[in-house]
């Protein structure tokens, strides 16, 4: 009996050895297609190249993933409003080649892991021909390789981290990048006369980190000084220790390139700690929850953004969008994310109109050709890096409202 027991153990070891051996054994056999696997150019036959998804049946499926719930839920909900509006309009206008567009929405609960899971479902189970999403760069970057691998174009409405579209040639965006936004913020801060700025970044977000770095680089090249660079993590609730550090470094202003979920609390605690200088932020501040979270602590602060609804005269296509929006969502005012969601969906729809065949590979080429498209958030031309080149706004917070303060064109900041 004892022998038998040991035989099991030995067996387990042997099995392990066999597992290891499999690699070698397989090597000798598998490249049966010709030659050794080490030779360049010979792909093994198990490599399955994706051919992309194509349209079957009467509907064209477009996938959307976003943070409908969770920490950044207002991001997902706003974007979703814009996307739905664009698709309804397209369907009302007769769809594409007589086919209706169907939007498959998935919620990633503001979690990067979930984003990956739901996008995998969208591309492989729902067989969508294009994917729209995400707002947060970290989540876009998690899902981008999946879309790239499946050859399904992904259009991000508002992920600004430069790395997002570098994940592959199937990844696009309809907004500017932090290469531009952070530079604008730096230029603006300098123009306002701030010479010594503290940067308070969220180390958990790709967006925040890149924004902070790019800002610092530009600001220093302009002749400014970085007073201190403390960090926080989204989800924290106590920032006083870091804010005390900032206070000690005596800056003229603080850059907080974070998301609205933390900015309000940071602003309040900053005032408690005795930091009464202006705070500057980026498009992550855009939310109707920003002011409720901050109370009066953000009065007179600034942030850069993509788009703002002007009260005065606007171009006719924007007016059309505003009318449609107020009809579809009574009592709501479109923010930048609504507009960008709308634009992202429109770019895909235009792509579908122009695509030679209704499949994701042809659609990619059509989207890549987008030129001078009149978007709500500005004229969209996708460059070789698959990014849009647009102007940026600086908004000022006054009471419960955001007021447009200044506009920067790419040329103005030397780009």
């Amino acid at each position: 009996m004892k022998l038998r027991r040991q035989s099991f153990l030995l067996g387990a070891v042997l099995f392990g050895a066999l597992l290891g051996g499999y690699g070698c054994k397989d090597k000798a056999e598998s490249p049966s297609g010709g030659g050794s696997g080490d030779k360049p150019g010979t792909k093994t036959e198990t490599t399955t190249e994706s051919k992309g998804n194509s349209v079957t049946g009467d509907t064209i499926k477009i996938g959307e993933y976003g943070s409908m719930t969770g920490d950044n839920s207002t991001f997902g909900i706003s974007t979703d409003r814009g996307i739905k509006l664009a698709i309804e309009e397209a369907n009302a206008a007769g769809g594409i080649q007589g086919k209706k567009i169907e939007l498959v929405s998935e919620d990633d609960a503001s979690k990067a892991e979930q984003a990956k899971t739901v996008v995998q479902k969208l591309v492989s189970s729902d067989k969508v021909v294009a994917v729209i999403g995400e707002v947060a760069s970290s989540r876009s970057m998690m899902a981008a390789p999946i879309c790239q691998g499946a050859k399904v174009p992904m259009v991000s409405p508002s992920s600004t981290n430069p790395e997002v579209t570098r994940k592959g040639d199937y990844i696009f965006r309809v907004c500017f990048t932090d290469d531009f936004q952070a530079v604008v913020a730096a230029q603006f801060a300098f123009d306002q006369g701030f010479k010594n700025v503290a940067i308070f970044t969220d180390v958990k977000s790709d967006y925040s980190k890149a924004f902070g770095e790019l800002f610092g680089k530009k600001f220093k090249s302009l002749g400014g000084k970085i007073a201190s660079e403390p960090t926080y993590q989204s989800g924290d609730v106590d920032f006083k220790a870091q804010l005390a550090t900032i206070k000690g470094s005596n800056p003229d202003a603080v850059l907080i390139p974070g998301y609205y979920t933390e900015v309000g609390t940071i602003a309040r605690q900053a005032r408690e700690v005795g930091v009464s200088i202006p705070l500057i932020g980026g498009d992550g501040w855009e939310s109707d929850q920003l002011v409720p979270g901050a109370g009066t602590a953000l009065e007179g602060c600034f942030f850069t953004n993509h788009y703002f609804v002007h009260d005065g005269t606007v171009e006719p296509h924007v007016q059309k969008f505003l009318d449609a929006f107020s009809k579809a969502y009574p009592g709501k005012k479109p923010g930048a994310l609504d507009a960008l969601g709308y634009d992202a969906a429109r770019v895909i729809i235009e792509g579908l109109r122009k695509a030679k065949t209704l499949d994701s590979v042809a659609l990619r080429d059509a989207i890549a050709d987008t030129k001078d498209y009149q978007g709500i958030s500005g004229k969209i031309t996708l460059d070789k890096e698959r990014n849009a080149r647009k102007e940026a706004l600086v908004l000022k917070i006054a009471g419960k409202e955001f007021k447009p303060f200044k506009t920067y064109k790419p040329e103005q900041v030397g780009l």
């Binding site: 067996g11 099995f15 093994t44 198990t46 490599t47 790709d206």
Partner: protein, 341 residues
């Protein structure tokens, strides 16, 4: 000598079956189902490995995700950081070929397993001084500390994660073969341990530590061994997880993951290998299967209510200390068939 030949034959067959299944499955089934199957296998491995510590040795560890994280990050670091440097002098490590991919994964597995085992040793040592709830909270604390250390290590991406380790996986149908291969190894190992004289020492520690000590069992050694083995297997699972995902973030290894693994062990029946195996599979698949339109939003609350009710109505878990073994099950079926004419 016959048994050796028999065993070799058996394992060759197992390997062949796994390979064949892997080929067929990865070529014909949707990616999301394959990735769910992979997760099921990984969590089953984690549950069975934690069962070695909590179930068989009677310790109280609720920080298993820490070891899982160590494995994942060490494996990821090998593939993404060390391999590219070594590749120049050792062309065999070049990825994109069958041998390169498998060899890399094997090296990553060995490294991840060893490092996780060493971490297990580090965490196992306090278990000599602490018992019960206090041990539980220390293991939980260690798990969190490991996560925060990773969070603050910029070389592996810090809080934004380590992305992507895809090049190995998407090319060949590797995941299922390795994941289920590992699962088979873990299950066989646990089972053989339970049946061996060594295993009796583990059980003795679980039943009564003081009595075991009096009977001459080196309880210190047994407890530390359990920690090292359990965490080494968790590390191996971590390596595979890192290579089967598009990326890993420290958030994948937070307290919730630890708690879910512990839940699997308890739900399956503390001490029951087959119970852990089954609970690991079911608890991973269930929330995903509930992801249909009907109860999508409520799936997590349903899941947690079921958990409480299950704990209250069947405190000993699905199988208690018992096991289900396929041969015995078949035999019983056969007997039933005979008795009913």
């Amino acid at each position: 000598m016959r048994w050796i030949l028999g065993r070799i034959g058996l394992f060759a067959v197992t390997c062949a079956v796994l390979l064949a299944v892997n080929r067929v499955v990865t070529d014909n089934i949707r990616v999301d189902i394959v990735s769910l199957l992979v997760l099921c296998g990984l969590y089953a491995t984690l549950a069975v490995s934690l069962n070695l510590i909590n179930g068989i040795t009677g310790q109280f560890s609720i920080g298993h995700a820490g070891f899982y994280a160590v494995g994942a990050y060490v494996g990821g670091a090998w593939t993404m950081l060390m391999r590219p440097a070594l590749e120049k002098s050792l062309p065999i490590l070049h990825t994109g070929t069958q041998i390169g991919d498998h060899l890399n994964l094997l090296i990553a597995l060995v490294l991840g397993t060893v490092c996780a085992g060493l971490t297990g040793l580090l965490v196992g040592l306090p278990s000599l001084r602490l018992r019960g709830d206090y041990l539980a909270i220390v293991t939980l604390g260690f798990g969190e500390v490991i996560r925060i250390v990773i969070l603050n290590t910029d070389a592996v991406g810090g809080p934004r994660g380590f992305t992507p380790i895809t090049e190995l996986v998407n090319n060949h149908g590797i995941p299922l073969f390795w994941v289920y291969g590992l699962l088979v190894v873990v299950v066989l190992f646990s089972r053989n341990l339970l049946k061996s004289a060594q295993g009796l020492k583990f059980l003795a520690v679980r039943e009564d530590e003081i009595a075991a000590d009096a009977m001459g069992v080196n309880t210190t050694k047994v407890k530390v061994t359990a920690f090292v083995i359990g965490s080494a297997f968790a590390g191996a699972a971590g390596v595979l997880y890192a290579h089967c995902q598009t990326g890993i973030t420290p958030d994948s290894f937070d307290m919730n993951t630890s708690i879910i693994i512990t839940t699997m062990v308890v739900l399956g029946g503390t001490g029951s290998i087959s119970g852990s195996l089954l609970a690991g599979m079911v608890l991973t698949a269930l929330p995903e299967l509930l992801r249909n339109d009907f109860i999508k939003e409520y799936r997590m609350v349903i899941f947690s209510t079921l958990l409480v009710v299950f704990m209250l109505t069947r405190p000993q878990g699905i199988f208690g200390h018992r096991e289900i073994a396929l041969p015995r099950f078949l035999r019983r079926l056969g007997k039933k068939g005979e008795s009913t004419p």
